[in-house]
Protein backbone atom coordinates (compact mmCIF):
# COMPACT_ATOMS: atom_id res chain seq x y z
CA UNK A 1 0.00 0.00 0.00
CA UNK A 2 1.20 3.52 -0.72
CA UNK A 3 2.07 5.93 2.02
CA UNK A 4 -1.03 7.48 3.57
CA UNK A 5 -1.81 11.15 2.91
CA UNK A 6 -2.38 11.63 6.58
CA UNK A 7 -1.68 9.35 9.46
CA UNK A 8 -2.77 9.82 13.05
CA UNK A 9 -0.84 7.75 15.58
CA UNK A 10 -2.44 7.47 19.02
CA UNK A 11 -3.72 11.04 18.83
CA UNK A 12 -5.23 12.31 22.07
CA UNK A 13 -6.82 15.62 22.92
CA UNK A 14 -7.48 16.47 26.55
CA UNK A 15 -9.23 19.54 27.88
CA UNK A 16 -8.36 19.69 31.55
CA UNK A 17 -9.71 16.46 33.01
CA UNK A 18 -11.84 15.59 29.98
CA UNK A 19 -10.34 13.33 27.33
CA UNK A 20 -12.19 14.26 24.15
CA UNK A 21 -10.04 12.11 21.86
CA UNK A 22 -8.36 9.07 23.35
CA UNK A 23 -5.38 7.55 21.49
CA UNK A 24 -7.03 7.32 18.09
CA UNK A 25 -5.11 5.65 15.27
CA UNK A 26 -6.28 6.36 11.75
CA UNK A 27 -4.77 6.73 8.32
CA UNK A 28 -6.24 8.18 5.18
CA UNK A 29 -5.05 7.15 1.74
CA UNK A 30 -5.32 8.79 -1.64
CA UNK A 31 -8.73 8.53 -3.28
CA UNK A 32 -10.56 7.19 -0.24
CA UNK A 33 -14.03 8.26 0.84
CA UNK A 34 -14.16 7.73 4.59
CA UNK A 35 -17.00 8.47 6.98
CA UNK A 36 -16.69 9.19 10.68
CA UNK A 37 -19.72 8.53 12.85
CA UNK A 38 -20.40 8.46 16.53
CA UNK A 39 -22.89 9.80 19.07
CA UNK A 40 -22.85 13.40 20.25
CA UNK A 41 -19.75 14.09 22.28
CA UNK A 42 -17.88 11.14 20.82
CA UNK A 43 -15.03 13.46 19.86
CA UNK A 44 -15.60 13.55 16.10
CA UNK A 45 -15.16 17.29 15.68
CA UNK A 46 -12.29 17.43 18.16
CA UNK A 47 -10.55 14.68 16.22
CA UNK A 48 -11.08 16.73 13.07
CA UNK A 49 -9.69 19.82 14.74
CA UNK A 50 -6.62 17.84 15.73
CA UNK A 51 -5.94 16.42 12.28
CA UNK A 52 -6.33 19.84 10.64
CA UNK A 53 -4.13 21.71 13.13
CA UNK A 54 -6.92 23.78 14.66
CA UNK A 55 -6.19 22.29 18.09
CA UNK A 56 -2.82 20.83 19.00
CA UNK A 57 -3.06 17.21 20.13
CA UNK A 58 -1.96 16.63 23.71
CA UNK A 59 -0.58 13.24 22.77
CA UNK A 60 0.33 11.18 19.72
CA UNK A 61 1.67 12.04 16.34
CA UNK A 62 0.39 13.35 13.01
CA UNK A 63 2.24 12.56 9.81
CA UNK A 64 1.32 13.96 6.42
CA UNK A 65 3.21 12.85 3.33
CA UNK A 66 6.15 11.61 5.39
CA UNK A 67 6.39 14.83 7.38
CA UNK A 68 5.63 15.19 11.06
CA UNK A 69 3.01 17.89 11.60
CA UNK A 70 2.19 17.39 15.28
CA UNK A 71 1.56 20.75 16.88
CA UNK A 72 1.91 22.71 13.63
CA UNK A 73 -0.53 25.53 12.83
CA UNK A 74 -3.48 25.07 10.46
CA UNK A 75 -1.64 26.90 7.68
CA UNK A 76 1.02 24.17 7.63
CA UNK A 77 -1.67 21.52 7.28
CA UNK A 78 -3.26 23.56 4.49
CA UNK A 79 0.11 23.78 2.79
CA UNK A 80 0.41 19.97 2.98
CA UNK A 81 -2.87 19.64 1.12
CA UNK A 82 -5.25 19.14 4.02
CA UNK A 83 -8.36 21.30 3.72
CA UNK A 84 -11.42 21.38 5.90
CA UNK A 85 -14.85 22.89 6.39
CA UNK A 86 -16.49 23.82 9.68
CA UNK A 87 -19.68 22.55 11.23
CA UNK A 88 -21.32 25.95 11.02
CA UNK A 89 -20.23 27.67 7.79
CA UNK A 90 -17.46 30.15 8.41
CA UNK A 91 -17.30 32.26 5.30
CA UNK A 92 -15.82 35.77 5.08
CA UNK A 93 -19.15 37.54 5.39
CA UNK A 94 -18.15 40.92 3.98
CA UNK A 95 -16.17 39.59 1.02
CA UNK A 96 -17.93 38.63 -2.17
CA UNK A 97 -18.60 34.97 -2.91
CA UNK A 98 -15.93 35.09 -5.59
CA UNK A 99 -13.35 36.67 -3.29
CA UNK A 100 -14.06 34.01 -0.67
CA UNK A 101 -12.91 31.41 -3.18
CA UNK A 102 -10.05 33.57 -4.45
CA UNK A 103 -8.71 33.77 -0.90
CA UNK A 104 -7.69 30.13 -0.73
CA UNK A 105 -6.20 30.25 -4.21
CA UNK A 106 -4.00 33.14 -3.05
CA UNK A 107 -2.56 31.27 -0.09
CA UNK A 108 -2.45 27.48 0.30
CA UNK A 109 -3.64 27.10 -3.31
CA UNK A 110 -0.46 28.71 -4.62
CA UNK A 111 1.92 26.00 -3.55
CA UNK A 112 3.10 23.55 -6.23
CA UNK A 113 0.99 20.42 -6.40
CA UNK A 114 3.04 17.33 -5.72
CA UNK A 115 1.01 14.20 -5.45
CA UNK A 116 3.54 11.56 -4.49
CA UNK A 117 6.38 11.99 -2.07
CA UNK A 118 8.93 12.59 -4.83
CA UNK A 119 6.35 12.94 -7.55
CA UNK A 120 6.70 15.39 -10.37
CA UNK A 121 4.71 18.56 -10.14
CA UNK A 122 1.20 17.59 -11.10
CA UNK A 123 -0.84 19.96 -13.21
CA UNK A 124 -3.69 21.69 -11.42
CA UNK A 125 -7.01 20.18 -12.55
CA UNK A 126 -8.97 22.51 -14.80
CA UNK A 127 -11.79 22.66 -12.32
CA UNK A 128 -9.49 24.18 -9.70
CA UNK A 129 -7.77 26.77 -11.89
CA UNK A 130 -9.87 29.89 -11.21
CA UNK A 131 -12.52 31.08 -8.76
CA UNK A 132 -15.07 30.81 -11.57
CA UNK A 133 -14.26 27.19 -12.32
CA UNK A 134 -14.53 26.29 -8.64
CA UNK A 135 -17.86 28.09 -8.36
CA UNK A 136 -19.09 26.11 -11.34
CA UNK A 137 -17.81 22.88 -9.79
CA UNK A 138 -19.78 23.34 -6.56
CA UNK A 139 -22.84 24.56 -8.42
CA UNK A 140 -22.75 28.23 -7.47
CA UNK A 141 -21.39 29.53 -10.74
CA UNK A 142 -22.11 29.75 -14.45
CA UNK A 143 -25.79 30.54 -15.02
CA UNK A 144 -25.98 32.47 -11.76
CA UNK A 145 -23.18 34.95 -12.32
CA UNK A 146 -24.82 37.52 -10.06
CA UNK A 147 -24.22 35.24 -7.09
CA UNK A 148 -20.44 35.56 -7.37
CA UNK A 149 -20.58 39.31 -6.81
CA UNK A 150 -22.80 39.14 -3.72
CA UNK A 151 -21.32 39.41 -0.24
CA UNK A 152 -21.10 35.93 1.28
CA UNK A 153 -23.44 37.01 4.09
CA UNK A 154 -26.21 37.55 1.56
CA UNK A 155 -26.50 33.98 0.26
CA UNK A 156 -28.60 31.24 1.87
CA UNK A 157 -27.16 28.96 4.57
CA UNK A 158 -27.15 25.95 2.26
CA UNK A 159 -25.33 28.00 -0.38
CA UNK A 160 -22.87 29.04 2.32
CA UNK A 161 -22.19 25.37 3.01
CA UNK A 162 -21.36 24.88 -0.66
CA UNK A 163 -19.22 28.01 -0.59
CA UNK A 164 -17.29 26.61 2.37
CA UNK A 165 -16.51 23.51 0.33
CA UNK A 166 -15.44 25.77 -2.52
CA UNK A 167 -13.14 27.70 -0.18
CA UNK A 168 -11.56 24.44 0.96
CA UNK A 169 -11.17 23.31 -2.66
CA UNK A 170 -9.40 26.57 -3.47
CA UNK A 171 -6.48 25.44 -1.34
CA UNK A 172 -6.12 22.65 -3.94
CA UNK A 173 -6.17 19.91 -1.34
CA UNK A 174 -5.36 16.23 -1.50
CA UNK A 175 -7.42 15.46 1.56
CA UNK A 176 -10.74 17.18 2.17
CA UNK A 177 -12.21 17.08 5.68
CA UNK A 178 -15.94 17.75 5.79
CA UNK A 179 -17.54 18.40 9.17
CA UNK A 180 -21.30 17.76 9.02
CA UNK A 181 -21.81 19.45 5.67
CA UNK A 182 -25.28 17.95 5.41
CA UNK A 183 -26.54 19.14 8.79
CA UNK A 184 -29.76 21.09 8.57
CA UNK A 185 -30.37 20.28 4.92
CA UNK A 186 -33.53 18.72 3.56
CA UNK A 187 -33.43 15.08 2.53
CA UNK A 188 -33.12 15.97 -1.15
CA UNK A 189 -30.34 18.42 -0.39
CA UNK A 190 -28.49 15.82 1.66
CA UNK A 191 -28.61 13.43 -1.27
CA UNK A 192 -27.38 16.17 -3.63
CA UNK A 193 -24.55 16.93 -1.21
CA UNK A 194 -23.55 13.27 -1.11
CA UNK A 195 -23.55 13.16 -4.91
CA UNK A 196 -21.39 16.28 -5.00
CA UNK A 197 -18.91 14.77 -2.56
CA UNK A 198 -18.60 11.61 -4.64
CA UNK A 199 -18.19 13.65 -7.79
CA UNK A 200 -15.44 15.80 -6.23
CA UNK A 201 -13.64 12.68 -5.10
CA UNK A 202 -13.85 11.06 -8.54
CA UNK A 203 -13.11 14.09 -10.68
CA UNK A 204 -10.37 15.68 -8.60
CA UNK A 205 -8.72 12.52 -7.34
CA UNK A 206 -9.30 13.72 -3.79
CA UNK A 207 -9.48 11.80 -0.61
CA UNK A 208 -12.51 12.80 1.47
CA UNK A 209 -13.19 12.31 5.17
CA UNK A 210 -16.77 13.06 6.05
CA UNK A 211 -18.27 13.45 9.52
CA UNK A 212 -22.03 13.20 9.53
CA UNK A 213 -24.83 12.68 11.97
CA UNK A 214 -27.23 11.39 9.31
CA UNK A 215 -25.80 7.89 9.54
CA UNK A 216 -27.96 6.25 6.89
CA UNK A 217 -26.98 8.55 4.07
CA UNK A 218 -23.37 8.42 5.09
CA UNK A 219 -23.24 4.63 5.22
CA UNK A 220 -24.76 4.46 1.75
CA UNK A 221 -22.01 6.56 0.19
CA UNK A 222 -18.72 5.95 1.96
CA UNK A 223 -16.34 3.06 1.45
CA UNK A 224 -14.93 2.97 4.95
CA UNK A 225 -16.39 4.02 8.28
CA UNK A 226 -14.62 4.96 11.46
CA UNK A 227 -16.78 4.83 14.57
CA UNK A 228 -15.82 6.95 17.54
CA UNK A 229 -17.30 6.44 20.95
CA UNK A 230 -16.30 8.40 24.04
CA UNK A 231 -13.20 9.58 22.25
CA UNK A 232 -12.03 6.12 21.30
CA UNK A 233 -12.10 4.39 17.94
CA UNK A 234 -14.30 1.32 18.27
CA UNK A 235 -14.53 0.30 14.62
CA UNK A 236 -12.85 0.97 11.30
CA UNK A 237 -13.90 -0.85 8.15
CA UNK A 238 -16.37 -1.14 5.27
CA UNK A 239 -19.92 -0.05 6.18
CA UNK A 240 -21.40 -3.52 5.79
CA UNK A 241 -18.88 -4.90 8.24
CA UNK A 242 -19.18 -2.07 10.73
CA UNK A 243 -22.96 -2.29 11.06
CA UNK A 244 -22.54 -5.94 12.14
CA UNK A 245 -19.87 -5.07 14.70
CA UNK A 246 -21.22 -5.98 18.14
CA UNK A 247 -19.49 -3.14 19.95
CA UNK A 248 -20.80 -0.60 17.47
CA UNK A 249 -24.34 -1.89 17.78
CA UNK A 250 -24.18 -1.80 21.55
CA UNK A 251 -22.57 1.61 21.76
CA UNK A 252 -24.28 3.47 19.02
CA UNK A 253 -26.42 1.94 16.35
CA UNK A 254 -28.65 -0.18 18.56
CA UNK A 255 -31.44 -2.44 17.33
CA UNK A 256 -32.93 0.37 15.29
CA UNK A 257 -30.15 0.07 12.75
CA UNK A 258 -32.17 -2.50 10.81
CA UNK A 259 -35.14 -0.15 10.56
CA UNK A 260 -32.96 2.79 9.69
CA UNK A 261 -31.22 1.13 6.77
CA UNK A 262 -34.68 0.09 5.66
CA UNK A 263 -35.34 3.73 4.99
CA UNK A 264 -37.07 4.93 8.15
CA UNK A 265 -34.40 7.54 8.83
CA UNK A 266 -35.39 10.62 10.72
CA UNK A 267 -35.30 12.49 13.93
CA UNK A 268 -37.36 9.88 15.74
CA UNK A 269 -34.88 7.14 14.97
CA UNK A 270 -32.00 9.37 15.84
CA UNK A 271 -33.52 10.22 19.19
CA UNK A 272 -34.04 6.56 19.92
CA UNK A 273 -30.46 5.88 18.98
CA UNK A 274 -29.29 8.55 21.34
CA UNK A 275 -31.40 7.20 24.18
CA UNK A 276 -30.03 3.76 23.56
CA UNK A 277 -26.52 5.17 23.65
CA UNK A 278 -27.26 6.95 26.88
CA UNK A 279 -28.45 3.72 28.50
CA UNK A 280 -25.37 1.90 27.39
CA UNK A 281 -23.10 4.58 28.72
CA UNK A 282 -24.82 4.27 32.04
CA UNK A 283 -24.32 0.51 32.08
CA UNK A 284 -20.71 0.73 31.12
CA UNK A 285 -19.54 3.28 33.64
CA UNK A 286 -17.92 0.61 35.77
CA UNK A 287 -15.37 -0.50 33.18
CA UNK A 288 -14.75 2.74 31.31
CA UNK A 289 -14.43 5.70 33.59
CA UNK A 290 -17.26 7.48 31.81
CA UNK A 291 -15.47 10.59 30.63
CA UNK A 292 -17.61 11.17 27.56
CA UNK A 293 -19.95 14.09 27.32
CA UNK A 294 -22.60 11.54 26.58
CA UNK A 295 -22.33 10.13 30.04
CA UNK A 296 -23.08 13.49 31.53
CA UNK A 297 -25.98 13.88 29.16
CA UNK A 298 -27.55 10.61 30.23
CA UNK A 299 -26.98 11.38 33.89
CA UNK A 300 -28.79 14.66 33.39
CA UNK A 301 -31.65 12.88 31.65
CA UNK A 302 -31.96 10.37 34.45
CA UNK A 303 -32.11 13.07 37.11
Amino acid sequence: MTEPLLQARAVSVRFGGLTAVDAVDASFHAGELVGIIGPNGAGKTTFFNAISGVVAPTGGELIAGGQRLTGAGPHRFAARGIARTFQTPRVFADMTVRDNIAFGLQFAGRRPRRWGLWGAQAPVPWALRTPESILALIGLGSERQDLAALPAAAITPSQQRLLEIGMALATRPRLLLLDEVAAGLTEAEVEAMAQLIRRLRDELDLSVVWIEHAVTTLLRHVERVIVLHQGRKIADGPPAEVVRNREVIEAYLGDEMGDETGGAAGDKTRDKTRDKTGDNTGDNTSDNTGQGLNHRHSAGAAA
Binding site: G73, Q106, F107
Partner: protein
Protein backbone atom coordinates in the same frame (compact mmCIF):
# COMPACT_ATOMS: atom_id res chain seq x y z
CA UNK B 1 -7.68 40.51 -5.58
CA UNK B 2 -8.57 41.90 -8.95
CA UNK B 3 -9.29 45.50 -8.23
CA UNK B 4 -9.41 47.50 -11.40
CA UNK B 5 -6.34 49.53 -12.27
CA UNK B 6 -8.54 52.59 -12.73
CA UNK B 7 -9.24 52.63 -9.02
CA UNK B 8 -5.53 52.51 -8.28
CA UNK B 9 -4.91 55.43 -10.63
CA UNK B 10 -7.73 57.41 -9.07
CA UNK B 11 -6.42 56.86 -5.55
CA UNK B 12 -2.93 57.81 -6.67
CA UNK B 13 -4.15 61.00 -8.32
CA UNK B 14 -6.20 62.05 -5.31
CA UNK B 15 -3.20 61.51 -3.07
CA UNK B 16 -0.95 63.42 -5.46
CA UNK B 17 -3.38 66.35 -5.57
CA UNK B 18 -3.80 66.50 -1.81
CA UNK B 19 -0.05 66.29 -1.28
CA UNK B 20 0.56 69.13 -3.74
CA UNK B 21 -2.00 71.27 -1.99
CA UNK B 22 -0.50 70.54 1.42
CA UNK B 23 2.96 71.28 0.04
CA UNK B 24 1.92 74.73 -1.17
CA UNK B 25 0.04 75.59 2.03
CA UNK B 26 2.77 77.05 4.25
CA UNK B 27 3.85 79.36 1.40
CA UNK B 28 0.78 81.54 1.53
CA UNK B 29 -0.88 80.77 4.85
CA UNK B 30 -0.44 82.26 8.27
CA UNK B 31 1.76 80.63 10.85
CA UNK B 32 -1.30 79.46 12.77
CA UNK B 33 -2.75 77.73 9.72
CA UNK B 34 0.59 76.12 8.95
CA UNK B 35 0.87 74.73 12.47
CA UNK B 36 -2.71 73.51 12.24
CA UNK B 37 -1.84 71.79 8.96
CA UNK B 38 1.10 70.12 10.66
CA UNK B 39 -1.22 68.66 13.31
CA UNK B 40 -3.58 67.48 10.57
CA UNK B 41 -0.74 65.78 8.71
CA UNK B 42 0.53 64.15 11.87
CA UNK B 43 -2.86 62.57 12.52
CA UNK B 44 -3.24 61.63 8.86
CA UNK B 45 -0.01 59.66 9.10
CA UNK B 46 -0.87 58.13 12.49
CA UNK B 47 -4.49 57.24 11.71
CA UNK B 48 -3.82 55.94 8.20
CA UNK B 49 -1.00 53.68 9.33
CA UNK B 50 -3.01 52.57 12.36
CA UNK B 51 -5.98 51.64 10.17
CA UNK B 52 -3.66 49.84 7.78
CA UNK B 53 -3.07 47.12 10.36
CA UNK B 54 -5.65 47.56 13.11
CA UNK B 55 -8.54 48.49 10.84
CA UNK B 56 -8.27 45.55 8.49
CA UNK B 57 -7.22 42.92 11.01
CA UNK B 58 -9.51 44.30 13.76
CA UNK B 59 -6.79 44.19 16.38
CA UNK B 60 -7.45 47.28 18.48
CA UNK B 61 -4.03 48.61 19.42
CA UNK B 62 -3.68 51.40 21.96
CA UNK B 63 0.10 51.38 21.70
CA UNK B 64 0.44 54.26 19.22
CA UNK B 65 1.56 56.57 22.02
CA UNK B 66 4.35 54.13 22.93
CA UNK B 67 5.75 54.09 19.41
CA UNK B 68 5.29 57.82 19.03
CA UNK B 69 7.15 58.42 22.29
CA UNK B 70 9.93 56.00 21.43
CA UNK B 71 10.43 57.78 18.11
CA UNK B 72 10.45 61.15 19.83
CA UNK B 73 13.02 60.04 22.38
CA UNK B 74 15.18 58.42 19.72
CA UNK B 75 15.40 61.61 17.71
CA UNK B 76 15.87 63.74 20.84
CA UNK B 77 18.87 61.61 21.79
CA UNK B 78 20.08 60.98 18.26
CA UNK B 79 19.90 64.44 16.70
CA UNK B 80 23.11 65.44 18.47
CA UNK B 81 24.97 62.65 16.72
CA UNK B 82 23.29 61.95 13.40
CA UNK B 83 21.50 63.91 10.71
CA UNK B 84 17.79 64.66 10.52
CA UNK B 85 16.77 61.92 8.12
CA UNK B 86 18.85 59.31 9.93
CA UNK B 87 17.16 60.30 13.18
CA UNK B 88 13.74 59.79 11.58
CA UNK B 89 14.76 56.40 10.21
CA UNK B 90 16.22 55.47 13.58
CA UNK B 91 12.95 56.42 15.28
CA UNK B 92 11.03 54.17 12.91
CA UNK B 93 13.51 51.35 13.47
CA UNK B 94 13.41 51.49 17.26
CA UNK B 95 9.61 51.63 17.31
CA UNK B 96 9.21 48.68 14.95
CA UNK B 97 11.81 46.65 16.85
CA UNK B 98 9.84 47.18 20.07
CA UNK B 99 6.63 46.34 18.18
CA UNK B 100 8.12 43.05 17.01
CA UNK B 101 8.84 42.05 20.61
CA UNK B 102 5.50 43.36 21.86
CA UNK B 103 3.67 41.66 18.99
CA UNK B 104 5.31 38.32 19.63
CA UNK B 105 4.20 38.58 23.27
CA UNK B 106 0.59 39.69 22.93
CA UNK B 107 -0.64 39.17 19.37
CA UNK B 108 -2.10 35.76 20.19
CA UNK B 109 -4.70 37.58 22.30
CA UNK B 110 -7.73 39.14 20.75
CA UNK B 111 -10.21 41.91 21.42
CA UNK B 112 -10.26 43.56 24.81
CA UNK B 113 -7.25 41.64 26.07
CA UNK B 114 -5.08 42.86 23.23
CA UNK B 115 -6.27 46.46 23.64
CA UNK B 116 -5.68 46.47 27.39
CA UNK B 117 -2.27 44.83 27.11
CA UNK B 118 -1.05 47.25 24.46
CA UNK B 119 -2.16 50.09 26.68
CA UNK B 120 -0.45 48.50 29.67
CA UNK B 121 2.76 48.11 27.69
CA UNK B 122 2.62 51.77 26.72
CA UNK B 123 2.46 52.70 30.38
CA UNK B 124 5.26 50.25 31.13
CA UNK B 125 7.52 51.85 28.52
CA UNK B 126 6.66 55.32 29.75
CA UNK B 127 7.52 54.45 33.33
CA UNK B 128 10.68 52.62 32.27
CA UNK B 129 11.87 55.75 30.43
CA UNK B 130 10.96 57.94 33.43
CA UNK B 131 12.88 55.62 35.69
CA UNK B 132 15.86 55.69 33.35
CA UNK B 133 15.79 59.48 33.22
CA UNK B 134 15.72 59.79 37.00
CA UNK B 135 18.16 57.10 38.00
CA UNK B 136 20.67 57.02 35.14
CA UNK B 137 20.84 60.50 33.68
CA UNK B 138 19.45 62.32 36.68
CA UNK B 139 17.11 64.49 34.62
CA UNK B 140 13.38 64.73 34.15
CA UNK B 141 13.36 65.34 30.40
CA UNK B 142 15.49 66.34 27.44
CA UNK B 143 16.13 69.76 25.99
CA UNK B 144 16.35 69.73 22.23
CA UNK B 145 19.25 71.88 21.11
CA UNK B 146 19.74 70.76 17.53
CA UNK B 147 16.54 71.66 15.73
CA UNK B 148 16.00 71.77 11.97
CA UNK B 149 14.17 74.42 10.00
CA UNK B 150 10.43 74.75 10.39
CA UNK B 151 9.91 73.88 6.73
CA UNK B 152 11.98 70.72 7.06
CA UNK B 153 9.74 69.44 9.83
CA UNK B 154 6.59 70.23 7.86
CA UNK B 155 8.02 68.58 4.78
CA UNK B 156 9.00 65.47 6.71
CA UNK B 157 5.60 65.02 8.30
CA UNK B 158 3.95 65.63 4.93
CA UNK B 159 6.19 63.00 3.39
CA UNK B 160 5.33 60.54 6.17
CA UNK B 161 1.61 61.19 5.73
CA UNK B 162 1.86 60.63 1.97
CA UNK B 163 3.91 57.49 2.56
CA UNK B 164 1.37 56.16 5.05
CA UNK B 165 -1.54 56.64 2.64
CA UNK B 166 0.47 55.31 -0.30
CA UNK B 167 1.43 52.23 1.70
CA UNK B 168 -2.26 51.69 2.51
CA UNK B 169 -3.14 51.98 -1.18
CA UNK B 170 -0.50 49.44 -2.15
CA UNK B 171 -0.98 47.00 0.73
CA UNK B 172 -4.72 46.72 0.02
CA UNK B 173 -3.83 45.25 -3.34
CA UNK B 174 -1.30 42.73 -2.15
CA UNK B 175 -1.53 39.26 -0.68
CA UNK B 176 -0.39 40.77 2.61
CA UNK B 177 -3.41 43.07 2.66
CA UNK B 178 -5.70 40.22 1.72
CA UNK B 179 -4.27 38.16 4.57
CA UNK B 180 -4.95 41.05 6.98
CA UNK B 181 -8.53 41.26 5.74
CA UNK B 182 -8.93 37.51 6.22
CA UNK B 183 -7.61 37.79 9.77
CA UNK B 184 -10.12 40.56 10.42
CA UNK B 185 -13.00 38.49 9.08
CA UNK B 186 -12.22 35.09 10.68
CA UNK B 187 -8.70 34.45 11.79
CA UNK B 188 -8.94 30.69 12.19
CA UNK B 189 -10.63 30.27 8.83
CA UNK B 190 -7.84 32.29 7.22
CA UNK B 191 -5.34 29.97 8.88
CA UNK B 192 -7.02 26.86 7.53
CA UNK B 193 -6.87 28.43 4.08
CA UNK B 194 -3.11 28.72 4.35
CA UNK B 195 -2.34 32.10 5.95
CA UNK B 196 0.53 32.22 8.42
CA UNK B 197 -1.35 34.59 10.66
CA UNK B 198 1.41 34.90 13.23
CA UNK B 199 3.82 36.39 10.69
CA UNK B 200 1.26 38.59 9.03
CA UNK B 201 0.11 40.05 12.33
CA UNK B 202 3.60 40.68 13.68
CA UNK B 203 4.79 42.30 10.47
CA UNK B 204 1.64 44.41 10.20
CA UNK B 205 2.03 45.58 13.78
CA UNK B 206 5.70 46.47 13.18
CA UNK B 207 4.77 48.39 10.02
CA UNK B 208 2.20 50.47 11.92
CA UNK B 209 4.74 51.08 14.66
CA UNK B 210 7.40 52.21 12.19
CA UNK B 211 5.14 55.01 10.98
CA UNK B 212 4.21 56.08 14.50
CA UNK B 213 7.90 56.06 15.46
CA UNK B 214 8.89 58.13 12.45
CA UNK B 215 6.11 60.64 13.12
CA UNK B 216 7.19 60.84 16.75
CA UNK B 217 10.78 61.43 15.72
CA UNK B 218 9.73 64.25 13.40
CA UNK B 219 7.33 65.87 15.86
CA UNK B 220 9.65 65.82 18.84
CA UNK B 221 11.38 68.99 17.63
CA UNK B 222 8.09 70.80 17.87
CA UNK B 223 8.67 70.87 21.58
CA UNK B 224 11.89 72.47 22.78
CA UNK B 225 11.77 70.21 25.77
CA UNK B 226 10.37 66.69 25.99
CA UNK B 227 9.63 64.45 28.96
CA UNK B 228 7.78 61.12 29.17
CA UNK B 229 4.35 62.54 30.09
CA UNK B 230 4.42 64.73 26.96
CA UNK B 231 5.50 62.28 24.28
CA UNK B 232 3.99 59.12 25.78
CA UNK B 233 0.71 60.94 26.31
CA UNK B 234 -1.96 58.22 25.98
CA UNK B 235 -4.22 60.83 24.43
CA UNK B 236 -2.17 60.61 21.23
CA UNK B 237 -3.04 56.93 21.02
CA UNK B 238 -6.71 57.41 21.86
CA UNK B 239 -7.07 60.25 19.41
CA UNK B 240 -5.54 58.13 16.65
CA UNK B 241 -7.99 55.33 17.33
CA UNK B 242 -10.94 57.74 17.48
CA UNK B 243 -9.97 59.39 14.22
CA UNK B 244 -9.59 56.07 12.42
CA UNK B 245 -12.89 54.76 13.79
CA UNK B 246 -14.83 57.94 13.08
CA UNK B 247 -13.41 58.09 9.60
CA UNK B 248 -13.98 54.41 8.93
CA UNK B 249 -11.08 52.15 9.83
CA UNK B 250 -11.84 49.76 6.98
CA UNK B 251 -11.62 52.45 4.33
CA UNK B 252 -8.68 54.13 2.69
CA UNK B 253 -9.73 57.76 2.77
CA UNK B 254 -11.82 57.68 5.93
CA UNK B 255 -8.93 58.10 8.37
CA UNK B 256 -7.47 60.89 6.24
CA UNK B 257 -10.73 62.83 6.04
CA UNK B 258 -11.38 62.31 9.74
CA UNK B 259 -7.86 63.37 10.69
CA UNK B 260 -8.34 66.71 8.95
CA UNK B 261 -11.92 67.23 10.18
CA UNK B 262 -11.05 66.14 13.70
CA UNK B 263 -7.93 68.29 14.01
CA UNK B 264 -9.70 71.38 12.70
CA UNK B 265 -12.73 70.72 14.86
CA UNK B 266 -10.65 70.07 17.96
CA UNK B 267 -8.73 73.30 17.41
CA UNK B 268 -11.89 75.33 16.79
CA UNK B 269 -13.70 73.89 19.78
CA UNK B 270 -10.65 74.37 21.96
CA UNK B 271 -10.52 78.06 21.05
CA UNK B 272 -14.25 78.77 20.94
CA UNK B 273 -15.66 76.70 23.80
CA UNK B 274 -12.67 75.69 25.92
CA UNK B 275 -14.92 74.53 28.79
CA UNK B 276 -16.99 72.28 26.57
CA UNK B 277 -14.21 71.10 24.27
CA UNK B 278 -13.90 67.52 25.53
CA UNK B 279 -17.64 67.21 26.11
CA UNK B 280 -18.46 68.22 22.56
CA UNK B 281 -15.93 65.74 21.24
CA UNK B 282 -17.49 63.00 23.33
CA UNK B 283 -20.97 63.92 22.15
CA UNK B 284 -19.85 63.89 18.52
CA UNK B 285 -18.28 60.50 19.01
CA UNK B 286 -21.49 59.06 20.43
CA UNK B 287 -23.53 60.49 17.55
CA UNK B 288 -21.02 59.04 15.13
CA UNK B 289 -21.20 55.58 16.65
CA UNK B 290 -25.00 55.65 16.73
CA UNK B 291 -25.70 57.06 13.29
CA UNK B 292 -22.55 56.44 11.25
CA UNK B 293 -21.13 53.12 12.42
CA UNK B 294 -19.23 52.74 9.16
CA UNK B 295 -17.44 56.03 9.74
CA UNK B 296 -17.41 59.29 7.85
CA UNK B 297 -16.28 57.50 4.70
CA UNK B 298 -19.56 55.61 4.61
CA UNK B 299 -21.48 58.90 4.40
CA UNK B 300 -23.27 59.08 1.07
CA UNK B 301 -26.03 61.21 -0.38
CA UNK B 302 -28.34 58.24 0.19
CA UNK B 303 -27.40 58.21 3.88
CA UNK B 304 -28.52 61.81 4.26
CA UNK B 305 -31.71 61.10 2.32
CA UNK B 306 -32.30 58.11 4.57
CA UNK B 307 -31.97 60.25 7.68
CA UNK B 308 -34.34 62.86 6.19
CA UNK B 309 -36.96 60.28 5.30
CA UNK B 310 -36.53 58.54 8.61
CA UNK B 311 -37.13 61.72 10.58
CA UNK B 312 -40.15 62.64 8.45
CA UNK B 313 -41.56 59.17 8.95
CA UNK B 314 -41.06 59.47 12.70
CA UNK B 315 -42.81 62.85 12.65
CA UNK B 316 -45.73 61.42 10.68
CA UNK B 317 -46.11 58.54 13.06
CA UNK B 318 -46.10 60.86 16.01
CA UNK B 319 -48.82 62.98 14.42
CA UNK B 320 -50.87 59.88 13.66
CA UNK B 321 -50.52 58.70 17.23
CA UNK B 322 -51.64 62.07 18.52
CA UNK B 323 -54.66 62.04 16.22
CA UNK B 324 -55.62 58.57 17.38
CA UNK B 325 -55.31 59.67 20.97
CA UNK B 326 -57.55 62.68 20.32
CA UNK B 327 -60.18 60.53 18.66
CA UNK B 328 -60.10 58.12 21.55
CA UNK B 329 -60.60 60.97 23.98
CA UNK B 330 -63.48 62.31 21.93
CA UNK B 331 -65.15 58.91 21.87
CA UNK B 332 -64.70 58.63 25.61
CA UNK B 333 -66.22 62.05 26.09
CA UNK B 334 -69.17 61.11 23.91
CA UNK B 335 -69.73 57.90 25.79
CA UNK B 336 -69.77 59.92 28.98
CA UNK B 337 -72.77 61.82 27.64
CA UNK B 338 -71.37 64.88 25.95
CA UNK B 339 -73.35 64.86 22.70
CA UNK B 340 -72.29 68.31 21.68
CA UNK B 341 -69.68 67.09 19.16
CA UNK B 342 -71.95 65.29 16.69
CA UNK B 343 -71.04 67.73 13.99
CA UNK B 344 -67.59 66.07 13.77
CA UNK B 345 -69.03 63.08 11.91
Amino acid sequence: MNRPAAELRRDGLVLFGLAGWALALPGHASEFVASLALTCLMYVALASSWALFCGTSRYLSLATAAFFGLGAYTSALGLEHVGWWSAIALGALVASAVALVMGALVLHLRGTYFAVLTFGMTELIRHAITFWEKSVTGTVGRVLTVVPERETVYLTVLLLAVLAVATSIVVRRTRFGLALAGIGADEQRAQTLGVNTRWVKTLGFALTAAFAGAVGAAMSVRWTYIDPPTVFNPFIGFQTVLIALIGGALTLWGPLIAAVVFSLLAETLRLQVPQLYMMSLGLLLILCVLYLPGGLASLRWATLQGWWQHSRQALRERRARRDRRNQRNQRANRAAGHDDEDSDD
